[in-house]
Amino acid sequence: MALNRRDLLKIAALASTFPLFGCEKVTSELTKNLGQTIPAKFGTAANSTVDKDFHLLSRATYGIWPGDLDYLKTSGRDHWLQEQLNPQKIDDGACDLRARRFETLWLDPGTCAEFKKPVLRDELVRHMLLRAVYSKRQLFEVMVGFWTDHLNIDVNKGDAIYAKAFDDYKVIRPNALGNFRNLLAASATSAAMLIYLDGKENRRATSDAIPNENYARELLELHTMGVDGGYKQKDVYEVARCLTGWRIHGDWKRGQVYFDDAQHDNGTKLVLGHRIAAGQGARDLDSVLDIVCKHKSTANHLATKLVSHFVCESPPPELVQKVAAAFTATSGDIRSMLLVAFNSPQFDQYPVSKIKRPFHFIVSALRGLAADTYAHSSVTEYLSRMGHGPFEFPTPDGYPDQSSYWVSTLLWRWNFALSLCSGNIAEVTLDLPLLAQAMGAKGVNGKSLQAEKIFAHLVGRKPNAHELEAFNCARKSGAKREAELAPELDPELIGLMLSSPAFQRC
């Protein structure tokens, strides 16, 4: 395109005002201009075991974008982690152009209620996926995913969907790398959470009413202390009493959360052995948060979940202890916990021990091939099919983080990979020849080098003899359909690599 950058910006502004056909094409050109593209040249892992830096990237990000490995190696792990842990300093303009185009994401719940539910769901899911694929703030996005599961809200319950966008940008995102207590406080009074776990129905006991314990129970069992955290049935009830009176406005203030003193149980409570004096009103919530956040079970529960997510599914107890100690020492600083986990000697000991969850699998495939997508239903359908549609897990424990839960999704993974590479996913485009050229996998060195380079780019190591043999036997069939691409490039072969056991791992 023979336009300069300012012209492109004008066009983009225009195009985003009117959802005109072709708007996505313009955005794609623009984001390419802003560096969201395949670098002219980039390196791939060269060893037969998984590269250590690749391992860090495959846990701390949603997968390697071409050039990411070089960047990490040049800047060093410490610098890279510091950068990722301070996401506001990373310019994410190109990602914003793709992901911020949806109007309902920035509206309050009352205004969202003017929209149809499927529109809201579609925009939420596409935003989540586009951020995961294109954001340079990768660790931040991974943590947004982590907390979205931890403080799970199924948008299919009641009117929760009207308030979920607000929950995403007011609760999860501002606190994803911040302080846990702040995150929890924001969540406790989030309209979406009050709807999802019936908090808005929780009122003081009267002769014919009993408090609704739903949120209080999950607050203790899932959000903070863990099921074996040491609380009793009585504590659940006492916490429920503390949280009576939080309501959501109807009418013209629709969707706004407020505290209704008349519905609040203002008596004395006893939570986990701590006495909360009578007459504290809305401040009972702060007391509960203080008590549970200072409890050692909470530090332990969160540390276990983080270590299990980032290091190893059977979390080494000594590392859990260290991460929990970081939580306690910093009164809940999430970054400090992550640093302990990533810098621990244990971190490098468990490469490829996890199976990517479907969302991670799909995003890492799109990132690995630098795909051009706007996350249309052609892509998101695969997520629902594999049981991993964002914001749709029915129960408050969030999508399981155990590999074994996800292994029955292989067929859909294979089908996504094969369709993606052969250009059969509508509105997703790849530039495989350019990719191959940039990693030096094209031309003079022969076919097996090509396979080796692409594979190493995708999984962080060279293929073993067994894998090469499998790729070679598939290659013969694809040969006839390659004519228009570079002569030695076989899209089906890349599809097979994305289908291979190695690419399912992280």
Partner: protein, 408 residues
């Protein structure tokens, strides 16, 4: 020691004889429907003959028979069905639908996850076991004809109850099962995948192999189109369509032994409704689906048993948001030729507020039957499991009477 080995071998050879299916695909089959969220079965099988019921539920109770058009459908002088259960009346009258009152587990956490997991694992909350109870059942019957289609879950993820099964498949519809490669290349791609997954030793080895086997088997079924038999019409929702896929598989003689299907939306803390409303909609989905399934199965009905379970019942009294909170015991529903149907097994006196063990803890219907007693009876008498101690080790089962004894 020598004698013991000998006797063990002869014992095993006997087992092998018993477990041999007569014909491929003619196995006895169990369909396990899980109502997720803790179903309020007290408004499904309504004890309209107890005054206490109406006292505890001033707003959400179902009117006694004859009081109005949407009243209880009378089964006997004490119990009747929720009006939306009407499609199941003929099966009850036919003596193939039976109920057990006061079924539950020893889990008093009140947690959905903990109670669901425990129920799916088939364990006591004091002692956890590996895998799910249906997984262990399948493993205990392991025979050479077991295939990835021996156990099928309709949905998107393997339910806990099937963990430990030698092979299990998770599908939404039968037509989903194919490889998206250009037709001419499907075989080559499948062969390359087989090669790649053969080399796996860990978590992915088994799923890789079973997925590839499954593809081949289903291809055959797909070549025929499916229309339900005997004029059965499935409701047009995920649950109804799931049952239809199961009927297709059951009649397709692919060796399906165990199938699992969830129906969500039973966690009715808030505005549950009575004869109509939130729960009534769920009951309608369940009843219409099961009735269509029963009709459609037709000639294969004699080898299919269907059970409907949930993680816990709900409290006997309604809460201030016109719903019900987590309770304990529930009513288990079962359909099949082997079921002692047309009757309600066990009886459950309703407890009033004052009598409950702990007003603020999970209370509700007391438990007369440990859920494992009911499941044991089904596995032993309806599915001919001869190694029930492998499924529920150390558990002393109690006679329920839900399943007829087989004539030996």
């Amino acid at each position: 020691m020598k004698a013991k080995q000998y006797s063990r071998r002869s014992f095993l050879s006997k087992l092998a004889f018993y477990d041999q299916p007569n014909l491929a695909g003619a196995n006895k089959s169990l369909v396990c429907i899980f109502l997720r969220g803790g179903a309020d079965t007290l408004n499904m099988l309504v004890p309209y003959g107890m005054d206490e019921y109406y006292k505890l539920r001033p707003t959400i109770s179902i009117k006694a028979p004859g009081r109005s058009a949407d009243a209880v459908l009378k089964l006997n002088d004490l119990y009747g069905f929720h009006p939306k259960m009407a499609p199941l009346l003929p099966i009850f009258a036919d003596g193939r639908l039976g109920m057990v009152q006061g079924v539950g587990s020893d889990n008093d956490s009140g947690s959905h996850f903990s109670a669901q997991d425990q129920m799916e694992h088939g364990e006591s909350c004091k002692h956890s076991l590996g895998g799910g109870w249906l997984g262990r059942h399948l493993a205990s019957r392991r025979h050479p004809r077991q295939t990835p289609l021996s156990a099928v879950a309709i949905g998107s993820a393997l339910p806990e109850v099937l963990r430990g099964a030698p092979a299990a498949s998770v599908i939404k519809s039968l037509d989903d099962i194919k490889l998206n490669a250009p037709a001419a290349d499907t075989r080559v791609v499948a062969a390359a995948l087989a090669k790649l997954y053969q080399a796996e030793t860990a978590l992915l080895a088994e799923p890789g192999k079973t997925t590839l086997d499954l593809l081949k088997r289903v291809q055959k079924l797909q070549q025929k189109s499916y229309s339900p038999a005997n004029g059965a019409i499935y409701p047009d929702n995920t649950f109804g369509q799931g049952l239809k896929e199961l009927a297709r598989l059951l009649k397709g003689n692919v060796g399906l032994e165990i199938s699992c299907l969830d129906l969500n939306g039973w966690d009715t803390h808030f505005f549950q409704g009575g004869a109509s409303g939130l729960q009534a909609d769920s009951i309608e989905q369940l009843a219409l689906g099961l009735a269509a399934f029963d009709k459609d199965l037709g000639s294969v009905r004699n080898r299919v048993t269907t059970i409907v379970i949930t993680e816990f019942g709900r409290r006997t009294y309604e809460n201030s948001s016109l719903g019900t909170d987590h309770g304990r015991g529930f009513t288990l529903f079962a359909i099949g030729e082997r079921i002692a149907g047309g009757q309600i097994h066990g009886s459950t006196p309703l407890l009033s507020h004052g009598q409950e063990v702990d007003l603020f803890g999970p209370a509700g219907l007391p438990i007369d039957f440990d859920y494992r007693s009911v499941l044991s009876e089904i596995l032993v008498r309806a599915l001919d499991n001869r190694r029930i101690d492998c499924v529920f080790p150390g558990f002393n089962s109690q006679e329920v009477g839900l399943v007829k004894r087989s004539i030996v």
